[in-house]
Assembly symmetry: C2
C-alpha cells in the first residue's frame, strides 16, 4: 500500500504538510530520513532511532548489494527484519553510489558496470536488476536506476545522462507494471544537472510515466545553494503537486528549510551522523566542535533546548572528554543529538505550517 495526502498547504510558499502511508506505517512530511547505508544508521540502534522520532530511514542498495548481498537479506525476511526496523525504509538505486564510490565504472545504455570498493569484483547494474535487489530488501520505497553527473557538467554529458535516466525509468516502469510484483512502491528520478531546460525536460519525461512519487537527483553535488533552489523553482512549475518529492542527499539545515518552500517533502543526508562521528554538534547557531578547549569545564548540555538522551543526561565537558579519549559513546551521544535536532527542526516546520 502507498498513499500520499496533503493535509495543509502553506500560504507563504509551496511548502505543505503531508502524510505518506506505507505498509510499514505513516510518515509525516516534510521529513528527514537518517541514512543507514549498510543496514544500520551508524552508532544507532533501532530503539535509539525510535526514541529520536525517526519515522523512516534510507538505506543504500549499492552497499547492501555488495555486503551482505540481497540473498542473505531476502532469507532474513527482508531488510526490516534483518535490521529489526519495523518502520518504512526507502532505498536508493545504487546509481549515485556507483557514480561516487565505485573504483571504476562504465556506463552504457544497458546499465552500469562497476568494481566493488570492497574487493574489486566486477558487477553490472541494469534497471531490472536494481529493482530485483530492492525487492529482495522489501523496501517500502524503491528508486529506479539513474545516471548522476558531477558538478559542473558539460551540457552534452548532462543531456546524455538525462536520456539514459528517462530510458531506464521507462524500462523500470514497464518491468514493475508488467506483472513484476514488488513489495513497496517505485518512485521516478528527475535529473538534468543545473540546466533549467534539462531539468524541465527530465521532469516532464519522468512525470509522464506517472510514478507515485519522485526523487530529485543530482543536486547538492557541489553547486551553490541558489543554483539548487533555481532548479527546484523550475521543477515546482512542472511536477505534479499531489505527489511526494524526495530531494535526494540534501542536506544542510538551510538547504532543507529552503527546499521545503519549493514543495520538497523528503530529505536524507549523512551530514548529521557524519558530523557527530567527527565530534561536531548541531544547534540553531550551526555546527560546533565538541573538541574545543572552552568546553573542558562546561557542565551544561550540548543544547539546553533539546530533549534528546544526550542533552538530558550529559554535559559538554563529559562528551568532550569522551571524544578526546576516543570513546565510542561520544559518537553515539552526538549522533543521537544531531539526528534529534533534525527531527525537531522538521517537526517544527510541520507544526508551523499547520498553525498558519
Amino acid at each position: 500500500m502507498f498513499k500520499f495526502e496533503i493535509l495543509k498547504k502553506s500560504k507563504k510558499s509551496r511548502a505543505r504538510v503531508g502524510k505518506l502511508t506505507t505498509d510499514h506505517g505513516v510518515v509525516e512530511t516534510p521529513n528527514f530520513m537518517p541514512v543507514g547505508t549498510q543496514g544500520t544508521v551508524k552508532t544507532m540502534s533501532p530503539r535509539d532511532l525510535n526514541e529520536i522520532g525517526s519515522q523512516i530511514i534510507l538505506s543504500n542498495t549499492y552497499h547492501l548489494f555488495l555486503r551482505p548481498g540481497p540473498e542473505v537479506i531476502r532469507e532474513a525476511g527482508g531488510l526490516h527484519k534483518f535490521m529489526n526496523w519495523d518502520k518504512p525504509i526507502l532505498t536508493d538505486s545504487g546509481g549515485f553510489q556507483v557514480y561516487s564510490l565505485a573504483e571504476k565504472r562504465k556506463v552504457t545504455d544497458d546499465g552500469v558496470e562497476f568494481q566493488s570498493h570492497i574487493d574489486g569484483t566486477k558487477h553490472f547494474f541494469t534497471p531490472e536488476k536494481v529493482i530485483d535487489i530492492q525487492s529482495a530488501f522489501g523496501s517500502d520505497i524503491m528508486m529506479p536506476l539513474d545516471e548522476c553527473v558531477p558538478f559542473p557538467c558539460d551540457k552534452r554529458v548532462a543531456t546524455e545522462a538525462l536520456i539514459r535516466t528517462t530510458n531506464w525509468a521507462m524500462q523500470s516502469r514497464r518491468y514493475v507494471s508488467g506483472g513484476k510484483p514488488i513489495p513497496g512502491t517505485l518512485f521516478g528520478i528527475v535529473q538534468g544537472s543545473t540546466y533549467p531546460d534539462l531539468r524541465k525536460r527530465s521532469a516532464e519525461e519522468i512525470c509522464a510515466l506517472d510514478f507515485p512519487g519522485y526523487g530529485i537527483g543530482g543536486l547538492s553535488v557541489g553547486e551553490p545553494q541558489e543554483e539548487m533552489f533555481g532548479m527546484l523553482e523550475v521543477l515546482s512549475q512542472v511536477m505534479p503537486e499531489d505527489k511526494p518529492k524526495h530531494l535526494m542527499g540534501v542536506g544542510f539545515a538551510s538547504d532543507i528549510l529552503g527546499a521545503i518552500d519549493f514543495g520538497m517533502d523528503l530529505f536524507d543526508c549523512v551530514i548529521p551522523t557524519r558530523l557527530a562521528r567527527h565530534g561536531s554538534f548541531l544547534t540553531l547557531e550551526g555546527k560546533t566542535s565538541i573538541r574545543n578547549a572552552r568546553f573542558e569545564r562546561d557542565f551544561t548540555p550540548i543544547d539546553s533546548e533539546c530533549d534528546c538522551y544526550a542533552c538530558k543526561n550529559f554535559t559538554r565537558a563529559y562528551i568532550r572528554h569522551l571524544f578526546w579519549a576516543r570513546e565510542i559513546l561520544s559518537m553515539q551521544l552526538l549522533t543521537i543529538h544531531n539526528l534529534r535536532f533534525f527531527m525537531r527542526m522538521l517537526a517544527k516546520v510541520r507544526a508551523d505550517i499547520l498553525a498558519e
Copy 2:
C-alpha cells in the same frame, strides 16, 4: 556509609552471598564490575548498563587522572555526576596501570614516578595523592597505592614490593583516619606474587590494619589458574571472613567461578567488553567469533537462552554483517550481550547458593 553483610554461606565451599551497601546503593555479591576505564564502559551508555543489570562499575584512576584530570571531575560534582552513573563506583589506585601501561616508571619508597602514555609528561603518585584523586572522583570504594609485580617474579623483588605495599597501606590508613575526610571507603590491597609465604605475610600485614574490605592484587597476570587458586586458598585461611574481597582484574568465567569458592566477592575484567569489540561473543560453551562464515545465514540469536537486547532483537547473521561492515553497532550489541552473560552467570551463582 559502607556495610557488608553475609546473607548465606555455601555448604560446599567458602562461597557466600552478601550484600554490600554504599552511599550509591546496594551491590549483591558475588558480583562482576564492568570496567569503565575512562569514565565510560566502552560502547555502553548508563542506561545500557542499567538494563544489563550492572550494580557497580570500576573505573581507572590512572586514566582519569591524566584525562580529563581530577579537577574537572571534581568540578563536575564527582565521577557519578560526570558520567551520569548513580550506582556505586570502585576505582583502583593506578598502581597496576602504572605498572602495566606507563612508558617509563620508577618506583621509590615515596611513590611511583611515571610518564603519561598520552603525552609523555612526568607525574608522581604517592599514597596520599591517589587518595586525593579518588576523593575528587567521589569513589564509593577506593584503593590505596600498591606495587604490582609481573609473573614470574624474583622472590626478592616480590618481597620488596610487598613491603612497599604494606608501608603505603599504613600511610594510606593514617592519611584517611587522621581526619582526611573521604567520600567513600578505602580498601586494603594484598600482594605477594605467587609465593604462598609472601601472600600469607601480605594478608596478615594488610588485614592487621583492619580495612573495611580488601583487594587481592597481582593475580591473573600470566600465572596458571591452579597457581592463582593456590594463592586464594592460602588467603582464605588468613583473611577475615566477614570482609568483602575483590579479586582485582579477574577474569575469565572459569577464573571467577573458581574464585568464588575461595570466598571472593567482587570481580572486574576487560575481557567481556574487549572480546566484544574484537567480534567475539560469550556463551556457556566459551567464546565464539561472530566473523565466522557459518553465521552468514544464521538467523538465530547469539544465545537463545539470553534475555539481553542483542539476543532479543538481532540475529547472528546481522551482527556478523555489522562486524564485517565495521559498524559500531556490532561492538555495542556484542558488549551488551557479553556483559549480560556475566551478569546472568553471577546472578545464577547467587541464586544457587541461596537455594542450597
